[in-house]
Symmetry: C2
Subunit: 309 residues, 2 copies
């Protein structure tokens, strides 16, 4: 019998109980999933930081901690956690992100806000250019960035991608490193930020980075709030250098009601809904990793402490 | 020397002069394009009804009239026109339509309006379902409907298609005929109408048709205004049976400022911008048809007077 501790937001247990049990059974694993258990009896921990578990020290038998979140920077702050940690890469989360990113990219491309906000009876029949004439840059070519870049390219947008390490992705013009970043941004009418938050990427989108974008560019950030220098962003919107920012993630969440982002006419706040792990598909990933660990195979999506994701 | 009369909105000549001349030259055709010419000297007419040509009787030598518009129902009202008529099926128009339809489908799917209109500082973090759980029905599987259905299916939406005649399209569940229409609509959370306007389709989207949609469904109409019974639409929005309508086309265009659609909180009017023929790609279609006619080949996109498109 394998003992799994579900140490996440307790509200999520209702969503996970059935699909997680099924996914484990489908893998032929004899598991019990617990909401609480003596630490020394736990084999695996399914985790997000919104539950009550904060000290990993007593979990002496545990073989892996499996994050329900794609971004693990908060989890890595926990100095008691030296166990193998996996991040969540699930098909449901990826599909949701693609839908949100493509939706907001098309919203800005087509100028949809003008129509949603401006039903004034005036017939202004200027059509948008084609996607083929609207360049988009995606920062971060992990599972999420790559899927978004590919979907945007499928719709006809010329897509530039930027990544820390060199990668090749069909249909996407790839860049890497510091000079690559300036190049990737210099012609981008729409920028989508899907980088992991690490010491290297914190405040990456600062005044210098924003200045390398063409005038009127739009920033879409469903990655992490701390990738963006908030003051530099507001200054660039106020000066007219940036056309708009659509932000789904923030340094502090929930974004406080008094935060200037809410009231800014060129910022659209969405409340960290771009995507979430979906219980059905996330459970399959967790079950796969329990099975891999039990059968001596390397874990999927194992976090590299050095790079921070 | 082949004489082509450009008998369309005179404002469009500036956009067409260079690409049309180039497309004809690329086909090896020795043509002159005129803005006015004695009718008996005209070999082909490039046409839209917003120009001044209304009587086709004197064009005795003319071999074909080539519409710049995809929808030809207005042109067919002209009883002086018995010449072969082609409608416009151009790659640029199709791509623009796909972008507009996918953009507005995702806008409704993701509930983007709530965020564009409601930046009130309240953090409501309920994510949308996945596209896989949102069924979309496309009415009309011509070049435009088919391209939109395929793009929506690519993004993960389950797509139903309805067409007058039976068709098979990979990834789309097809329906046809009257009983097929009810079936295609009965589970549709979002309906996209891209039918041609004919005597059969006028007012097709009437109270009965709307009643067969599930409660809360959204109608997106970039096809033709007269496909929809305006009063039935407003009644269904007011009763809460329909959730929203995004309309790009109207019986009378420009839509008069006093028309109730503009002020309705559940209607988004866009001013016939979903897509337009693009001079570069449309010119290639025109040149191809001149070449086909000159070399004895059948014309592309020849309008069938019987079916009306």
């Amino acid at each position: 019998m394998i003992n799994i501790l579900f140490a996440a937001d307790p509200h999520r247990w209702g969503e996970y109980q059935i699909p997680l049990t099924k996914a484990l059974t489908d893998r032929g694993l004899d598991c019990a999933v617990h909401l609480s258990l003596s630490p020394e009896e736990v084999d695996y921990i399914v985790y997000d930081p919104s539950g009550s578990l904060s000290d990993f020290t007593p979990y002496t038998r545990c073989r892996a901690v499996m994050s329900l979140w794609a971004g693990v920077e908060k989890i890595l702050e926990n100095i008691t956690l030296s166990l193998p940690l996996t991040r969540m890469v699930d098909q449901g989360l990826t599909r949701g992100m693609v839908e949100w990113v493509v939706g907001h990219t098309l919203r800005h491309h087509l100028g949809i806000d003008r129509h949603v906000l401006g039903q004034d009876g005036v017939w202004r029949d200027t059509a948008a250019p084609l996607a083929a004439d609207r360049s988009v840059t995606v920062l971060g070519m992990g599972a999420l960035g790559r899927a978004c870049a590919e979907a945007l390219a499928d719709l006809g947008f010329p897509v530039n991608g930027w990544n820390r390490s060199r990668k090749q992705i069909a249909g996407v013009k790839m860049h890497c490193g510091a000079t690559g970043l300036t190049k990737a941004l210099s012609g981008a009418q729409i920028v989508v930020s899907l980088l992991p938050l690490t010491e290297q990427t914190r405040n990456l989108i600062d005044a210098t980075c924003i200045a390398s974008l063409p005038k009127g560019a739009v920033l879409i950030n469903p990655g992490r709030g701390a990738l963006v220098d908030e003051n530099a962003l507001i200054e660039a919107l106020d000066s007219g250098h940036l056309g708009h920012a659509t932000l789904d993630v923030f340094e502090r969440e929930p974004l406080p009601p008094e935060h200037p982002f809410w009231a800014h006419s060129k910022i659209t706040v969405t409340p960290h809904i771009a995507s979430a792990s979906r219980p059905e598909s996330a459970s399959i990933v967790i079950a796969a990793n329990v099975w891999r660990s039990q059968t001596g195979r390397p874990l999927l999506y194992l976090v590299d402490r050095e790079s921070g994701y």
